[in-house]
């Protein structure tokens, strides 16, 4: 069935709301407005104001309320409009959601799902273009996932709701309008990374909004005789070391494509894990394609230059393969 990522997530929300009375959605402009990215359009008419709950601009309070409601037996889906605004509720996520289970000696779990849009690329400038997934992926007690395919966009929410602990879903803004063929929803997974393109020469590790760029780069690299394998992480925390290492041990080379800034990035973490566990399997230095160390600039050409692109990925692939240009 042909659909968009936006529709896939909306269908996932609708299904969750239909299947479980404890599920409700809250966030800024999720109701009347239909969601900043029109994800929840029509849902308030369908499920009412109580379950599609507009909140004031109080990220900390409504994320904290989501935690409390989860403790109180509900299955809240909290939409923080974008990762940029999630900095206003970082305290609740990191200090409360992630720690409650542990601090209480296992007495209280927090079955909360937080959705947020992430990523740059739409000329929204420095304050609205962050990719801070790695901040959350740093924190024990959280599960962090990122759908990259239509199937995952459609199927991950349900899996997140089934999880008894807090789950953060990062949805890249570049995906919403994307259209494609939605196959089986059952293939969605939030535990295992997926090989999206098998190859034997080099592993390209990516997630979320950069999967399509990376697949394009793999196709382009094939023209130079390089057979790249593309690995979609799906889960940013915990990382599926097993799948990552199996792929790298096979190809003996790895590039991590990550829209976060280089320093202290998820790419850095993955690279380190490979170095720790697969050093003797490596046939080339590890490499990464990340965002340049600059707040995202407004002009299009500069923004594009700052972000990972198909060309920069292809260039890095050739460099690692020893095909110096």
């Amino acid at each position: 069935m042909t659909t968009t990522y936006r529709e896939a997530m909306r269908a996932a929300l609708r299904q969750a709301l239909q299947e479980d009375e404890r599920v409700f959605l809250m966030g800024e402009d999720v109701g009347r407005y239909g969601g900043c990215y029109a994800i929840s359009q029509g849902l308030q008419q369908e499920f009412g104001e109580t379950r599609i709950r507009d909140t004031p601009l109080s990220e900390s309070a409504f994320v904290g309320a989501g935690i409390g409601a989860a403790l109180g037996g509900m299955r809240p889906i909290v939409e923080v409009m974008t990762v940029n605004f999630s900095l206003l509720c970082l305290d609740q996520i990191v200090n409360t959601a992630a720690t409650l289970r542990h601090m209480s000696g296992g007495q209280f779990s927090v079955p909360l799902v937080i959705r947020m849009t992430t990523g740059a690329g739409r000329q929204l400038a420095a304050q609205h273009s962050h990719s801070l997934e790695c901040w959350y992926a740093h924190v024990p007690g959280l599960r962090v996932i990122a759908p990259a395919t239509l199937e995952d966009m459609r199927g991950m929410l349900r899996l997140a709701l089934e999880d008894p602990d807090p789950v953060i879903i990062f949805e890249h803004n570049a995906l919403y309008n994307r259209e494609g063929e939605l196959t089986e929803v059952a293939v969605a997974d939030i535990r295992r990374a997926a090989i999206r393109r098998p190859g034997k020469d080099i592993t390209l590790i990516c997630y979320g909004g950069n999967l399509h760029k990376t697949l394009e780069a793999a196709t382009a690299s094939a023209e130079s005789g390089i057979d790249a394998e593309v690995l979609d992480l799906r889960s940013l925390r915990p990382l599926d070391d097993e799948t990552i290492l199996a792929s790298v041990r096979k190809t003996r080379r790895a590039i991590i494509v990550d829209e976060g800034w280089h320093s202290g990035s998820l790419a850095a973490e993955i690279g380190m894990r490979i170095a720790e566990q697969a050093f003797y399997d490596l046939d080339a230095p590890l490499a990464r394609v990340c965002t340049a160390e600059v707040p995202i600039p407004y002009p299009r050409h500069l923004e594009q230059a700052a972000l990972p692109q198909v060309e920069s990925i292809v260039g890095k692939v050739r460099e690692v393969m020893g095909q110096n240009v």
Binding site: T50, S60, G105, Q107
Partner: protein, 327 residues
């Protein structure tokens, strides 16, 4: 606004006295144990403020939820967590009410719906709002009570939470324990308006202030607020004017307040005040107090023994309880 003390019955008064003395003596023991390095980390004592917890807890039902701060030993004890479990938690033993993982600042107990032990100032308010939201959405009649200090009032989360609770008409009782100092910062040095309960009024929340050094006054205010919440299904706000006699935490030279000020407030000690009043009215005599002190000493003695005899969690279990195991 407080009820005349003359209305206190012997039975009621003795209970409050016992509650306050239990908290006081337990904490004094904690301070001693801290000096012996049995208890470590931060230890924030409630001494001086006992009337607030003692006057509040009896008005709550078992189904209600309590959210507190890092100065929560008294709330935990009077909510019904055993002194044994609290003491073992202070020691970091497996038998503690949080399995030893939380310590002094993070007492939790599912049985009594005691949700911590939240040590980020104002961090517990959204939690209480959420608990109340869940109750409202599930048509349950219970309420959530959130204790916090006046330092939280300067935080954004305080205002966000009050607004949300009022906007969504949630059954939350906010109890601000105004002890005049956010660690070392005096209220007047941090708030443009020091009449804290008026801030709640600005959100359209029923709000009042009470003498936090007087357990009767506290109890009267809490009873009224709880009744309103149960009837109106709306939040309420109480400002309890109180004072801590001890330092903010254990390692605090108290450069920010005068000895005389502390001594003045100590004259208002809620235990001494209630004892004197009840004696004057010949409701109790020294034997009653001695009896309470003796029982309390025995309870503390056995709690310390319990904690001493508790077990350290094996290091192999280090990463337990980060995620739910069953998933």
């Amino acid at each position: 606004m407080s009820a005349p003390t003359s209305q206190v019955s012997r039975e009621q008064g003795l209970r409050w006295l016992k509650d306050m003395i239990r908290v006081r003596r337990m904490e004094e023991k904690c301070a001693e144990l801290y000096g012996q390095e049995k208890i470590r980390g931060f230890l924030h004592l409630y001494i001086g403020e006992e009337a607030v917890a003692a006057g509040s807890m009896p008005e709550l039902s078992a189904e209600d939820a309590v959210v507190a701060t890092y100065r929560e030993h008294g709330h935990a004890l009077l909510r019904g967590i055993s002194m044994n479990a609290i003491m073992a938690e202070m020691y970091g033993k497996r038998e503690g009410c949080s399995g030893g993982r939380g310590g002094s600042m993070h007492l939790f107990d599912a049985k009594t719906r005691f949700y911590g032990g939240n040590a980020i100032v104002s961090g517990g308010l959204p939690l209480a709002v959420g608990l109340a939201l869940a109750d409202k959405m599930q048509n349950r009649q219970r309420i959530s009570v959130c204790f916090f200090g006046e330092g939280a009032v300067a935080e954004g989360e305080f205002h966000e939470s009050l607004n949300l609770a009022a906007l969504w008409q949630l059954p939350v009782l906010f109890i601000c324990e105004n002890n005049l100092y956010a660690m070392g910062t005096a209220l007047a040095r941090s708030e443009s308006v020091t009449d804290i309960h008026r801030k709640a009024e600005s959100y359209g929340i029923y709000s009042s202030a009470a003498d936090g050094m007087d357990v009767v006054s506290v109890n009267t205010a809490v009873r009224a607020a709880v009744t309103r919440i149960r009837e109106d299904k709306k939040p309420a706000f109480l400002e309890m004017r109180t004072y801590r006699f001890r330092a903010h935490s254990m390692f605090d030279p108290e450069l920010y307040r005068d000895r005389e000020e502390v001594d003045q407030w100590k004259q208002l000690c809620p235990i001494a005040t209630l004892t004197a009043q009840m004696k004057a009215q010949q409701l109790i005599d020294d034997r009653d107090i001695d009896g309470i002190e003796k029982d309390t000493a025995a309870e503390i003695h056995s709690a310390v023994e319990f904690a001493e005899g508790g077990h350290w969690e094996p290091v192999e279990d280090l990463t337990r309880d980060v995620y739910t195991e069953s998933r």
